[in-house]
Symmetry: C2
Subunit: 268 residues, 2 copies
C-alpha cells in the first residue's frame, strides 16, 4: 500500500493556522510522524490551501518537510500551474497531486513530467463535474490514460482516484468505485488505484470504522494506494491486516514488524 | 449479517469457570448483553465444553439464556448426539452447531431437523480433517448440500463454515476461503456463508484489527453470517460499516441507529 499522508493540508484548521502563523515546528512535527508511519513506500502530501502567494507558501512548506524527512512529496494544489511552480523546490522526484479531465490540467502537467520520474494523481472528473456512474468515470480514465501514453508516461507512474464520495447519500454503496477499480485493474494493470479514503464517511458518526471498512473492501478488489491519515492507528493497522488477507504479506511479517514498531495497536 | 454470538462457550476460561460453579448470573449477563448487540437477526451460541453430563449442562445453560432473552439458540457441541439431545430444551427453533463431512454427523442430525424450521451450521471438513485446498472443501460442501436436499432442507436453512484457519501460517492469505465463498454464492445462492471469525488471528498481536479486516473482506464477497463476539465494539461497528459499503444499508440508517443505541463507538 502506497500511502499519501494527508495531514499537511491548509484546509485542516490546525494546519491552516500553522501555515498562517509560519509555525514551522508544527509542520516538521507532523511531517516527521507521518514519515515514520508510511515507511519507505509513500508520499508526504503538501497542500497550502491559501488564496495568495501559493507557490511561495508551498516552497516554504516543502523546505520544512525536507528538513526532517527524505520521503517524496506529493505537491498538492487545485491549480496545475501552482503544482508545476512548486515542484522544483523538491529535492527528489515526487507526485503531482493532481490532474483530471478538467480544463487544461493535463496539458499543463504532462509535458513537464514526461521525461522525469515524477508520478501523478489523476482524478476521474471533468468540466461537467464528477460523472454519476462508473461508465462516465471510465471515459475520463480512458482519456487520461491516452494522454499519458502520448507523453510516454508509463502506467505505473499514474495513480487514479475513482472519486470517493460520501456513503451516506449513496444508494448503491460503493459499487461505482468498485466497478471503476475492476475495470482499471483489467485494462491498465500497472496503474495504481488510490483515492481520498476519509471522504467516504462525511456526515456520519464514528468515521474511523467506515474509513476502515472502505479501504479494506477496496483493497480486496485491487486498491494499492490511498490518500489518508497514517497517524490514525487503527486505520493503519487495518491496512497492514488487509495485506495479510490478500497474501501480499507472507507469514504476516510486515504486520508483526509494524506492530512491534508501535505504528498501530494500543499506545505504549 | 446474521451473528452467532460466541461468548457462552465453556472453552473460554471465565465461562468454563462459571459453568463449573453453576454461576447462572454470569451466563445471564453475557446472554443479555449479546442479545442486545445482535438484534433480531442472530443466535446465542451455547457450548458446554464439558467431559461429562454434557446434555444436562446444556439444558441448564439453555434455561439460563432463555430466562433473559427470546433470541434463538445455536446448540453447539462436537457431539451431534448431544446437539440433538439438548435441542428439545429450546423454546423456539434455533441452530444445530454443527455438522460436517465427518463420521455419521449428517445421519444423526439431518433426519431430526428435516421437517422443522431448525437451521444447521456445516463445517467443510471430513474424516481426513480440513482439506488443504478450495477444491477439497468444495467437495465436502457438495456432499453436504446433496444430503440436505435429500431431506428436503432448503438452502437458506444451511450455514456453511469454509473453515477459517490462522492467517499467520497461510502463504496465500485467505484465497481458499474466498474461493469457497465465490463457489458457494454461485452454486447455492440461498446458503448462508458463515465462519469462526476470530480463528483468523490466532498467534498474532492486536487480533481485533485482523478480525475486522477478515470479516470486511469476506463480506465484500458474500459472507452474510459470522460466529463472533458481538461485544467487540469495533468489530460490530465494522460489520455495520461493511453493510453500508455493499449497499445493503440504505442511507446508512442501520449504521446510524446502531451507533445511537451505543452498540459501537466510544463508550458513553
Amino acid at each position: 500500500m502506497i500511502i499519501i499522508a494527508e495531514k499537511i493540508n491548509g484546509s485542516i484548521p490546525s494546519m491552516g493556522k500553522a501555515i498562517a502563523e509560519h509555525d514551522v515546528e508544527h509542520i516538521k512535527d507532523i511531517a516527521r510522524r507521518q514519515a515514520e508511519a508510511i515507511g519507505d513506500n509513500g508520499y508526504i502530501d503538501c497542500c497550502a490551501s491559501v488564496d495568495v502567494d501559493e507557490v511561495e507558501t508551498l516552497h516554504w512548506m516543502i523546505d520544512a518537510i525536507q528538513e526532517v524527512t527524505d520521503a517524496p512529496i506529493a505537491v498538492d494544489s487545485p491549480s496545475a500551474e501552482a503544482c508545476i511552480g512548486a515542484m522544483k523546490y523538491c529535492n527528489k522526484p515526487g507526485m503531482i497531486n493532481s490532474i483530471s479531465g478538467e480544463g487544461n490540467k493535463m496539458e499543463v502537467v504532462l509535458p513537464v513530467i514526461a521525461d522525469t520520474p515524477w508520478t501523478v494523481m489523476a482524478l476521474l472528473c471533468d468540466d461537467s463535474g464528477i460523472p454519476k456512474d462508473a461508465e462516465g468515470r471510465i471515459k475520463v480514465l480512458d482519456r487520461i490514460m491516452a494522454e499519458c501514453k502520448k507523453y510516454g508516461i508509463a502506467e505505473d507512474r499514474v495513480f487514479i482516484d475513482p472519486m470517493v464520495e460520501m456513503i451516506c447519500t449513496a444508494e448503491e454503496g460503493i459499487s461505482i468505485v468498485l466497478d471503476v477499480i475492476k475495470y482499471c485493474k483489467k485494462t491498465y494493470p500497472e496503474v495504481h488505484i488510490s483515492g481520498a479514503i476519509s471522504n467516504i464517511s462525511f456526515n456520519l458518526p464514528y468515521r474511523k470504522i467506515l474509513n476502515i471498512a472502505f479501504v479494506v473492501t477496496c483493497m480486496a478488489f485491487g486498491m494499492d494506494s490511498g490518500v489518508l491519515d497514517p497517524l490514525s492507528r487503527d486505520l493503519l493497522g487495518a491496512i497492514y491486516a488487509a495485506e495479510c488477507m490478500s497474501g501480499e504479506d507472507y507469514y504476516c511479517m510486515e504486520y508483526i514488524s509494524a506492530f512491534r514498531e508501535g505504528l498501530f495497536g494500543p499506545k505504549q
